[in-house]
Structure formats: C-alpha cells, structure tokens
Symmetry: C2
Subunit: 139 residues, 2 copies
Amino acid sequence: MRRPQRDESLYHQLADLLRGRIQRGEYGPGSTLPTERELSRLHKVSVATVRRALAVLRGEGLIRTARGEPSTVRTAPHRAEIPAQFGSRLISRMPSTIERAEFGIEVGVPLIEIRHAGGRVDVLAADRVEIIWPDPTSA
Amino acid sequence: MRRPQRDESLYHQLADLLRGRIQRGEYGPGSTLPTERELSRLHKVSVATVRRALAVLRGEGLIRTARGEPSTVRTAPHRAEIPAQFGSRLISRMPSTIERAEFGIEVGVPLIEIRHAGGRVDVLAADRVEIIWPDPTSA
DNA sequence: CCGGATTTGTACGTATGTATT
DNA sequence: GAATACATACGTACAAATCCG
C-alpha cells in the first residue's frame, strides 16, 4: 500500500481497491477473497489494517465474513417485489444488533419499516425486497 | 464489564449497554457521551474495546464521532415526506464511502434509490425522508 | 491569536479464543 | 486431531482536529 498519511488512510485505500475489484467482477459473487494474512502480505499492511478495510466492505453489504471460513463476496439475493398500499408510509434505517437477530437481517443490510394505514407495521430486510407502485391506469 | 468469553463479547455488551441508555434518553439527542478513556475506565475494558463498541453504535446511526470532539448522540433529522409516484420502484441499501461523500450521507445511514417510470433515478439519504403513498380515495 | 490540553483517528503488534476445513 | 481462518482483547505510538485558557 501507499503512504501512511497525508493521503487517505491505508484501510480506506485498501477498501477502495477491493471494492473496485468486486464491482468489476474480478472477485465474482460467491467467490472467496484472499485470506487476511495474504492481503496483509500482498499489500504490505498489518492484518489489523486489512481487517478494518474488510469491516468497511462488510458495512456496505459487499462481503460476508465468518469465523473459520474465508471472506466471500455476497451474492445479491433475489428481491421480492412488494406492492405498496395506499396510505402506507415507509422509512429505512440500520437495524440494531438485536433487530438483526430478530428479523434475520445480515450485517450491512438496512431495515425497511412500512407502517400501514390500519396500524400494522411490516419490517423487512432491505436486500430482499423492492417496493413497487403499480400504475392503476395501466390495468 | 463482565467476562472475557463464553458470554457475548465485551464490546457487544458495552454497545448494548450504551444503546439502552441512548434509547431510554439517559443520553439524550445531541448530548455528549463520556470520552473513550472515561468509558474504558468506567467499564474496565481497554480503549480499543470501547472503540469497537462505539463503532457498532455508529454503524447503527445512533452516534456521531469525529476527531477532536467528544462523541455525540445523533439527533434524528426532520424527515421530508416524499410522495411516491405511479410506476416507480424503490430499493434501500448501504452506500459506499464514495456515495456517502457524493450524496452527503452520514455514517450508519442507508441510501434509498427510487427508479421512476421515466427512467430518472433519485438517490436519497434514508434518514431524511419518509416515503408516503397518499390514499387517492381520501381526496 | 497562540499554544497546550483534550479527544478521536490511524497503524502496528501480540496473545488467545473459536469455528471451519 | 491438526491446520487454517476469522474474532476478540489488550497494548503502544503517533497524527490530526478541536477545545480552551
């Protein structure tokens, strides 16, 4: 990697580099990244710096890391098309650790809250849905 | 803090504790948290562990941290009510570091992409908007 | 306005734990 | 069981931004 300061931080530089490779498909969906030790050796930064870079990508929902297994590029799950209903309101925010466990949301994935007119609230993992608004005149 | 292992990790325990205090209003919106050194001393964990706990809360959009200033509880910004339009599609995901800079999105805040029927794409910071579907029958 | 003190950010290292292969 | 790989936890040193007298 490059210089210690005055530029961007090392871990951001490394995160940018890896993000680019993922987005260009050089690390395709489902494929494994080099191990932390290998990335450390390849880019001449400490393992701690590699981990910070990976944490950035994990927070962006781009990779998945787990104990004992190499980090992998996340495959975009199929998005269910959810038709919105009249009178409903939608907000999106990051879930807490507890909400992630409760609703089965992965790291780096936002939460979508839909408050319906009747008072019911739907909570959805944002990476599994696409909210659509069908045009009634086309029916 | 409690035990080193076999329970939840120290930094998660500390994050849970601080999140509770924020949600109960003991640390109100805009107020400053104790410094990292203070939290370290108070909870008998290393500063590194405190920093990991704060990183969790930052990722959830609950606090804001910056060099030279104490960490603060984020105040929920006003949400503009955005009326949805027929034929549009909405997804939410985490922005990359680059997108955060480009669209002025803070850390821990998702991005909302609205693809309109005409082809135009709106990109919004999720913490500033609420998407509404007005009931046409009520007009 | 200056300079020191304070506070968070970056970078590295070491040791150990735990899950997977 | 052994080897591999990521996770946790502690520590050190220095940089950079802010705060305050």
